[in-house]
């Protein structure tokens, strides 16, 4: 019975989001602290080093960590204000059970009661409908150890094939393409290669807002004289300064990259030696773009032909170059193809395995890189192993001490799990670190699916919009309440240190999973007594896989401020730059070109829905906003979604900045204020997606998936935009000020 127990308003009143505005005790309390803990930001894949100041088991502030090499003290506003997520009035401190008669819709229960209910429901559902009818959804804002544990827990405790994670909405297109082309799913370089590049090509990455610290690396390259190319439908803050800006139409990335490859070939701006020695399949890839002339590319992408040629010239004639891409090219039904078309450009010009050369995805989620390697994707086992590969299964079974047949087979992906719930095939769900009601496309569909669950248990530290549907909510831990390792976008494995203990009766996530496993009678596989023990087993489980952590030690990770995998044996220095000397990770050491034919997105504009919609992030919010929508200063920075549109479109609609517009797609509609800017294509609108309910951009987006990576096409939908007339309720009343007066008195 996974409907929300009481009205939205009642839930919000009790569980927030409320806004935490000031540190514990107020600003005037003075900055008194007992200790300073070196750890990392919990938001985004850059995992910036930060020093948290702690007093009486509360995080009260921060100090820049100047010595951490990745960010040298730099932080974005989320990192600065992250400490306000602790000591928060919305923090869940007790297990909760759905109870429509209780204030706020949940009653407080004991851990014993909550855990036995969860165990009983898992057993009931699995007995009635089969093991796979109980699914698990996870996320990658959690550590490597927890990711590993979730993978093992789902396979050996829940014994379900249906485990997937929210990285499915994030890095899977890049991961799949990198594996296909290069044999390994990791950014090709440490970020220290970026400043060495003579040309930096940023494709579909709003670096300034989504990976802000990377900006400094790009500027370091430019300080050396590097040129900057940016491909984006919007003039992002970094694109503003680009030497070549390619303002392409949403969904035409592979046409742009194909055209650039065409121009490279036509002008012979190629590295033939590299192609011959280290790659396969160039001819086929070249044949595919034979007709992709600049004129054709310009017609498809909407970018002036001379700019495409200029971008190709810069990329092709520079001795070194880095191509950085992110969700802008990956959130597509052609996500994998788009990434492959970027990799083709790197391979064709020999920009791999050398200083200042590489094609890298900028991983989005906190532990997006590490989390996807430890085996909580539906098709993977630890070490980036393939769950369908008998050798891989046998190895992991041996590490786990189980019979190979006990490891379930390949399951379905996150969006497919939600669809299976909707279809009544999956009846029970346990989730951690995932707020699909905000983050999955087609919000209405997701809500309908959740309502159909017979039982839903959720582990979280705040009552997220998805958790509101739960039958049992188990209060887990914030990142600063547990230790472990994560692996950043660079492939650098780093140490997260616990600053405080979980408050109240909240518990560490891994302890909760261990208790459920015990309840299910599977404790023999889960004899861990610390995070470190999980790490030790994880490292062995990863050994021999592509993401090999075997040589890392708990102490080395901390002392060396991170180790880049692969690190296959003890004493191995780690591998900041992959593919040195053109040796790729396929067994034959060669990279593969892939022919990429342009095809249109799943949904294209037509007379009924004539405007392109693309979605994305703003700097002050993180993903579904469960944390950042509760931090007052961040909410103030960008309080509600705005619909960006070009003055030409605004004029035709009779809209000026601040007017309310109604945006309608085939899935739903929303009303929101317009922001009229010249920094977006005239045929496209942009809406950020961090908000729930009536403010959710994902009410409009399309559930169409990439056939390989199964990533949804967030970046392209067809919509209709009109000026909203009459009374329009835009605010969801989801934000109520905790304190009227901002300043405490000391």
């Amino acid at each position: 019975m996974a409907r929300i127990p009481v009205t939205d308003e009642q839930l919000i009143e009790r569980y927030g989001p409320h806004l935490n505005q000031a540190p514990p005790g107020g600003w005037n309390a003075g900055l008194d602290f007992d200790k300073v803990v070196n750890t990392h930001c919990c938001f985004c894949g850059q995992q910036c080093g930060i020093r948290l100041k702690v007093k009486d088991n509360e995080v009260v502030g921060f100090e820049p960590w100047y010595d951490f090499p990745f960010n040298e003290g730099k932080l974005c506003p989320k990192g600065v204000k992250r400490y306000l997520q602790g000591s928060h009035p919305d923090r869940l401190l007790e297990p909760l059970e759905r109870d429509p008669s209780a204030p706020g819709g949940f009653r407080t229960v004991t851990w014993d009661h909550a855990l036995s209910r969860v165990v009983a429901e898992i057993q009931r559902i699995q007995a009635a409908y089969g093991n796979d009818a109980f699914a698990m959804l996870s996320g990658v804002s959690i550590t490597n150890e927890k990711s590993y544990l979730v993978g093992k827990f789902a396979r050996l405790a829940l014994q379900t094939a249906n485990l997937d994670y929210n990285g499915r909405l994030c890095m899977v297109s890049a991961g799949a393409a990198n594996k296909k082309a290069l044999g390994m799913d990791r950014a090709s370089n440490s970020w220290s290669d970026i400043p060495l590049a003579d040309v930096v090509f940023v494709a579909g990455a709003n670096v300034a807002e989504c990976a802000p610290i990377t900006t400094s690396y790009i500027w370091r390259a430019r300080d050396r004289g590097a040129k900057l190319i940016v491909a984006d439908p919007r003039v992002t803050p970094l694109a503003r300064t680009a030497d070549v800006f390619l303002g392409l139409r949403p969904g035409t990335d592979s046409a742009l990259m194909g055209t650039i490859l065409h121009v490279l070939i036509a002008n012979d701006w190629l590295d033939h030696d590299f192609i011959n020695a280290h790659t396969l399949g160039f001819e086929e890839a070249a044949a595919e773009v034979r007709d992709y002339t600049p004129e054709w590319g310009s017609k498809v992408t909407g970018v002036p032909a001379d700019r495409i040629v200029e971008a190709a010239r810069l990329w092709g004639t520079s001795a070194t170059g880095m191509l950085l891409h992110a969700r802008g090219i990956e959130h597509h039904t052609k996500g994998v193809e788009n990434v492959l078309s970027c990799i083709n450009l790197g391979l064709a010009t020999g920009k791999y395995g050398k200083p200042g050369c590489g094609v890298s995805t900028i991983t989005g989620q906190g532990n997006g890189q590490g989390g996807r390697e430890q085996g909580h994707k539906c098709d993977q086992l630890p070490g980036n192993r393939d769950i369908t590969n008998p050798e891989h299964r046998a190895y992991v079974a041996q590490v786990w001490g189980c019979d190979e047949s006990e490891i379930p087979g390949k399951g379905i992906t996150a969006e497919e799990i939600v669809e299976a719930i909707h279809a009544g095939e999956i009846k029970g769900l346990l989730s951690i670190c995932f707020n699909p009601l905000v983050s999955l496309p087609d919000t209405k569909f997701t809500a309908e699916a959740l309502d159909k669950l017979e039982f839903y248990a959720n582990i979280d530290f705040f009552l997220s919009e998805t958790a509101q549907h739960a039958d049992i909510v188990l209060p887990g831990s914030l990142q600063e309440e547990d230790e472990g390792t994560t692996t950043s976008a660079e492939g650098r494995t780093i140490k997260i240190n616990a600053a405080i203990d979980p408050p109240g009766n909240a518990r560490r996530d891994w302890e909760i999973l261990l208790d459920i496993a015990r309840g299910l009678g599977r404790e023999k596989y889960f004899g861990f007594s610390s995070t470190r023990e999980i790490f030790e087993e994880m490292k062995v489980a990863s050994h021999g896989g592509t993401a090999d952590y075997f040589g890392m030690t708990w102490d080395r990770i901390e002392d060396e401020m991170g180790i880049f995998w692969p690190c296959p044996e003890e004493g191995h220095p780690g591998t900041p730059r992959l593919y040195e000397g053109g040796v790729f990770a396929h067994p034959d050491g060669k990279a593969r070109f892939h022919p990429v034919a342009y095809r249109p997105p799943a949904e294209v504009v037509d007379d009924e829905y004539p405007v392109w919609l693309t979605t994305g992030r703003v700097i002050s919010q993180y993903l579904s906003g469960t944390q950042t929508r509760r931090i007052g200063p961040l909410v103030e920075q960008y309080p509600e979604p705005l619909c960006e549109m070009h003055p030409r479109m605004a004029e035709s609609l009779g809209v000026v900045t601040g007017d309310i517009v109604r945006v309608t797609s085939r899935r739903g509609e929303m009303t929101l204020p317009a922001r009229v800017v010249e920094s977006i294509r005239p045929d496209t609108v942009f809406i950020p997606y961090h908000w729930p309910g009536r403010q959710a951009a994902n009410q409009l987006t399309n559930r169409a998936l990439d056939p390989v990576s199964k990533i949804p096409e967030y970046k392209v939908s067809a919509v209709r935009v009109v000026k909203a007339e009459g009374h329009v309720e835009i605010r969801d009343k989801r934000v109520t000020a905790l304190e009227e007066r901002r300043r405490g008195d000391g």
């Binding site: 003075g30 008194d32 503003r240 008195d745 000391g746």
Partner: protein
């Protein structure tokens, strides 16, 4: 700490006024003390200190009030106050402002209750102490023993008798211990201030010796005064002569410090009341529109005042086109500086 632009020339006019103030005070001492009859010779040192202090404060005040921005504000404040048809309203307002602002100091409370409490303690302690000691020092008040017991006293103000009281009564006790009470108040306030400082490394960093000197001075005067009481009450007057000298020295030094240090704000702060009237007057009048964004951002009066004051303090923000940088609002100034800088690095933006 430099006060930029100050010159160390003697201001003859200010000196003359300060000298006159000292003269007037001397006449009052003469009259108030019955031509010296009731003047307590033991307080002569204090009198000299007071006279020097008065000279210094008046001189410093006059120099300050003549600075172009101060003079302009002073004039405008009074003009605003005396504005036809508003004098009555303003007078009532002034009484309120004196109460809330100068006496109750609500603006400090808004910053922090602890800071406000500390300041109130020091403020009222000092005021109380001054109310007791200045009339005594200047010979305006003296006590005479009345009746047979020797414990009854009568207070005289400018030689005119007021009420009499018993030294052992509550009134008597309080009267003779007013200074001790004030000393405790001041010390309490000073300790709160110091405690806050030690817990606030930020404040410490921007603090300059002037602040600590003021606190140290207040503390010194209070504690040496208390020592005198302690000597009389519990030590049968031991060390009294020595302590008297120490106390006198700290008081005199304190008086002379007033014009130079933090304590001069006692005389500057009332200008804040003028600002209230100036601001109200400005808000009622024409607003100045920014030359760039055409939005009003300040009172036309204040912008005009600044345009006159700036040349007087050595700045010329006029441009060749007959405009003035001061006609642009602060926000547009920041944006234009950015635009200009951006143009100088290759035209991003």
């Amino acid at each position: 700490m430099s006060t930029s632009g100050s010159t160390f020339r003697i201001d003859g006019r200010a000196a003359m006024f300060a000298g006159s103030a000292v003269g007037v005070l001397l006449v009052l001492v003469y009259v108030g003390s019955g031509a010296g009859r009731w003047f307590d010779a033991a307080l002569a040192g204090y009198l000299i200190g007071v006279l020097m202090g008065v000279f210094a404060v008046v001189y410093r005040y006059l120099v300050w009030i003549q600075r172009p921005p101060t003079a302009r504000l002073n004039r405008r404040g009074w003009e605003s106050f005396r504005r036809k048809g508003r004098v009555g309203h303003n007078a009532v307002g002034l009484v309120g402002l004196v109460g809330t602002n100068l006496l109750a100091q609500g603006f400090i409370r808004k910053r922090s209750t602890a800071r406000w409490a500390a300041h109130q303690l020091v403020f009222w302690g000092c005021l109380l102490a001054a109310a007791v000691t200045f009339p005594l020092t200047l010979g305006w008040v003296h006590f005479e023993s009345v009746g047979q017991q020797g414990s009854h006293y009568k207070a005289f103000f400018f030689g005119i008798g007021t009420g009499s009281f018993s030294a052992t009564s509550l009134v008597g006790f309080t009267t003779f211990h007013l200074l001790n009470i004030s000393a405790f108040m001041v010390i309490g306030g000073v300790l709160i201030f110091l405690f806050r400082r030690t817990r606030d490394p930020g404040a410490l960093a921007v603090e300059r010796s002037g602040d600590f000197l003021a606190l140290a001075g207040l503390f010194g005067v209070s504690i040496t005064g208390l020592f005198l009481t302690a000597s009389t009450m519990w030590l049968e007057g031991r060390y009294y002569a020595f302590l008297t000298n120490v106390h006198a020295l700290t008081v005199i030094m304190g008086l002379l410090y007033i014009p130079f240090g933090k304590l001069f704000h006692i005389f500057q702060r009332p200008a804040n009341l003028g600002v209230h009237f100036y601001r109200a007057e400005g808000a009622r009048g024409v607003q100045h529109e920014c030359r760039e964004c055409h939005k009003p951002y300040a009172s036309a009066m204040q912008v005009a005042d600044l345009k006159e004051v700036l040349p007087a303090v050595g700045f010329d923000y006029r441009d060749n086109a007959g405009g003035n940088w001061q006609d642009i609002c602060p926000s547009c100034r920041r944006k234009m500086v950015t635009a200009a800088q951006v143009a100088r690095v290759g035209g991003f933006g």
